[in-house]
């Protein structure tokens, strides 16, 4: 096995035992990253210089033997909507081409403090709006399991780079499924933490009441290790919650005997891909054989979550994206007066999906339509949240498929935005309710594409999610499968 194919917990042991230095590891990872990058295209920016400087620092730390964390010296990818001081951060938009933030996102600061290495900024859907990474202004990221398929989105590059061993793990962000759906499609683990669990300071905002940063990793233990570093209160984000953070790697290893699992009937609609249904049912049986109790439950309002989301998220986006006005950063297209400058700048800087959502949100918030759309969606939001509150009185976690289908081909869903939106039908209600959700591999389709299993937890109970996911993962070998990096 090559060094770069290992997991974080495996390579951390090697680094600590001085079997390899961080500089050697970073060079080996960088060489592999560059070798497969023309095929996969995970990165908008490859940060080799930064990586090698960080690796040299990490080696000093490893040599001193003190202040070593499991991430010290380990190469990671960072989604290109997380601000990195002095390193271009584009949100995959023409609008922010060349933008070099003057500060780091809190999660980036935390990774730096742990001694992690940044190998690059990963590709994504423009401003995180999409489910295939096709709306990036810069490039089309390919699914490592079949290069003619999309990697999912919006954190497509963060998923593909981990799947293709270009980085040991990455950070993504999830507003309606943007960590879990690409994790499922690329056969890796992805966790959207509880809203407020991880600081959003320095995350370029899409929909502020839904966005959350989380880890994308090769296995569950790595996910726990990343959470140990990024979770916790941050005074720079007033929505970050002051709730104690457990040691996730300790919690993860506890038994799941007697764990109550809810299976919501609404997540197994008629006509769903039979391979996904079968893989999910097998995984549920597996959890049962490991000692979990399975209960059928209902989340009656979940069929309305997609409709509510497409009011709430675009409304918040239309407000958040008002800041791109050609004044303080990013693109400027000259105009005769300021309004003309704004309108020309925004027309040239945003791609079609971003414009669509800005207009949708502007419409939903405009005079005369506010009650029918935005207020209505906020009421539906409460009903969806109440469904989860009620379900969690009876069960500890909820298990569903992550996505109704495996990865699809390029261009298959770009003509009709609604078909693309339906990719998130099983992930979106989790963001609306603010609860945590994790996706992990639970099978392969006949054509060799990964299938994801979603586990949903109580607010701030990521520990139980990781425990259930770890127990399942350790009893299977899906997480050990590697993609072909070929076109099929």
């Amino acid at each position: 096995m090559e060094l770069y194919q290992k997991t974080i917990h495996e390579i951390a042991a090697d680094l600590k035992a001085k079997k390899v230095s961080s500089v050697e590891l970073t060079k080996a990872t960088m060489a592999h990253l560059k070798a497969v990058e023309p095929k996969v295209q995970s990165f908008i920016t490859v940060t080799e210089e930064v990586a090698l400087a960080q690796a040299a620092e990490a080696d000093k730390r490893l040599a001193s033997g003190s202040n070593i964390t499991p991430l010290t010296g380990v190469p990671l990818g960072i989604k290109d909507l997380l601000c990195t001081k002095g390193v271009q951060t584009t949100c995959a938009s023409k609008m922010l081409e060349g933008f070099k933030p003057p500060y780091n996102a809190t999660v980036v600061e935390r990774l730096n403090a742990a001694g992690a290495i940044m190998v690059g900024k990963t590709n994504m859907d423009e401003f995180a709006m999409g489910s295939s990474t096709e709306s990036s202004y810069y490039m089309k990221t390919k699914n490592p399991w079949n290069l003619s398929c999309v990697p999912g989105g919006s954190s497509g590059g963060s998923a593909s780079c981990v799947s293709a061993d270009q980085a040991f793990a990455s950070l993504g962000s999830d507003t309606g499924g943007s960590i879990r759906q690409p994790a499922a499609l690329c056969g890796i683990v992805g966790l959207k933490p509880t809203y407020g669990r991880v600081s959003r300071y320095g995350l370029i905002a899409f929909a502020s009441s839904l966005d959350q940063i989380g880890p994308m990793t090769k296995d569950v233990e790595d996910c726990a290790l990343m959470m140990n570093v990024i979770a916790g209160h941050d005074e720079k984000d007033s929505t970050s919650a002051n709730v104690a953070v457990p040691d996730y790697t300790t919690e993860m290893k506890k038994s799941i005997k007697g764990l109550k699992i809810g299976i919501p009937k609404e997540f197994f609609p008629e006509g769903m891909n039979p391979e996904v249904t079968e893989a999910t049912k097998k995984a549920i049986d597996q959890l049962k054989s490991l000692g979990a109790e399975v209960h059928e439950i209902s989340l009656p309002h979940s069929p309305y979550s997609l409709a509510a989301y497409y009011v709430l998220a675009p409304s918040e986006a239309s407000s958040n994206l008002a800041r791109y006005d050609g004044v303080r950063y990013g693109l400027r297209v000259p105009g005769e007066n300021i309004v003309e400058m704004y309108s020309k700048t925004r027309a040239a800087g945003f791609g079609p999906e971003v414009k669509r959502r800005i207009m949708l949100g502007t419409y939903a918030l405009s005079s005369g339509y506010y009650d029918a759309y935005y207020l209505k969606a906020l009421k539906v939001r409460r009903l969806i949240k109440q469904d989860y509150d009620k379900a969690f009185e009876k069960v500890d976690i909820i298990v569903t498929p992550t996505v109704p289908n495996p990865a699809f081909k390029f261009g298959e869903k770009t003509d009709n935005p609604l078909t693309m939106y339906l990719e998130d039908v099983f992930t979106i209600s989790i963001n609306i309710a603010g609860v945590p959700g994790l996706s992990l591999p639970c099978g392969l389709s006949k054509t060799g594409l990964p299938i994801g299993l979603q586990m949903i937890g109580k607010p701030f109970d990521e520990a139980t999610l990781l425990k259930a996911a770890y127990a399942y993962e350790q009893s299977t070998d899906w997480h050990k499968r590697k993609p072909s990096l070929k076109e099929n």
């Binding site: 407020g196 929505t239 409709a307 497409y310 400027r332 400058m341 027309a347 419409y363 209505k376 609604l418």
Partner: protein, 94 residues
Amino acid sequence: MALSEKDVQYVAKLARLEVTEQEVAKYTQQLGNILGYIEEMGKLDTSNVEPLTHPLDMKNVFREDVVVPSLTQTEVLSNGPEVQSGHFKVPKIM
């Protein structure tokens, strides 16, 4: 509620987005479809439901009123498309 091309032009103006005729035609159709889907929510009776703006039970967060280091003027201006004498420069407003 059917969406007209006039609505789309109005919304684009509110959103400060210059749109071409072709875009207006395309967005009218696409946004109309999406709104049709969104109107599914109308089937739910929400007359006795309070709106929920945020998943967490949030209250105002205060801190002590003490000065802490922040970004310098140079850093803040460093990404400005047009900067002059410590200010962001914009085209005429009036």
